[in-house]
Subunit: 99 residues, 4 copies
């Protein structure tokens, strides 16, 4: 079985290849989803690699990766906290009719 994912076999056992074949059409649709997802995940992995590279570069510049990760975590928490606060503020504003 040369197809890397053996998926196609499960979709239809008859009438493959016809235009308008329900299973075939669904299969194409499904494959398209798979390809889109795979593509996106590859990009995501590539970004993860890039991030690792930046940390590596920082490390070779003499910084401590472990601590840098902590800092990034804090930064993120602060951003989220800020967002929370903004949402809370909006809530108050609308509560008192300040649109």
């Amino acid at each position: 079985m040369s197809n890397p994912s053996n998926i196609a076999e499960f979709k239809s056992d008859s009438a493959e290849g016809e235009a308008g074949d329900v299973a075939g059409v669904a299969g194409k649709r499904l494959l398209s989803f798979f390809d889109r997802i795979e593509r996106l995940e590859e990009e995501k992995s590539a970004l993860a690699e890039d991030i690792k590279d930046v940390y590596a570069e920082a490390k070779s510049a003499g910084f401590e990766v472990k601590i840098m990760r902590r800092v990034m975590k804090l930064r993120k928490m602060e951003v989220e906290k800020r967002q929370e606060e903004d949402e809370l503020l909006s809530l108050y504003m609308s509560a008192i009719g300040m649109v």
Copy 2:
């Protein structure tokens, strides 16, 4: 820089802004790393969102997300297995001197 940690520079708040200011320069460098990482992580998160969206779209097209995730996982495992096989082969080759 022989000191394993560049933390010390952050304790110095004097003499900032001068050209050649060691702490300031290191700090700028570090900030630049942080910004790059933050940017990359934002893109990564965006991609994760995109992936979720595709699954949602597939779901509303009548496909089962649970199965789709399994398929994607299997696809990934197949790719990794192949890579591992290639690496092992390379390792053998170099081990027996076939460069």
Copy 3:
């Protein structure tokens, strides 16, 4: 026990030793868990040692540990891939009502 944490019991140092003492009973139960875990982890560490020993023995018999580890990894990946395939098949079967 509705309190999400059983920590509170340990702050109580009064009335210990009585039959039916809530804190004491929970404490005994907890200690029993700890002991069981500790025992299991010791056995696990012993096995890790054994594995190291086998690699060492293989090395002194002239085999390359690095390659051997790769082989073991590949073996493991193959087993996992097969399991994943089986699970995916089961999922398909139940999805199309073939129980």
Copy 4:
């Protein structure tokens, strides 16, 4: 290729199956190592499972797994610390001739 690990093929391209065949003997030895390691790793995994089960049991008894893990870590550190101290003591003893 039906052999799950494709290893055998790399060991000898000739004269397989003879008693005293160097490559074949080495191969058998190697396979024996692999089997021993695999066996040990299975046992190790089984123990890891057991540990997980105990934590699950503790959880359903109302204890917090996260905290329990911390406690186990501390316990382990104490054991190791104690061992360190004992070794240091032995060192002192032998240093002052108290065998």
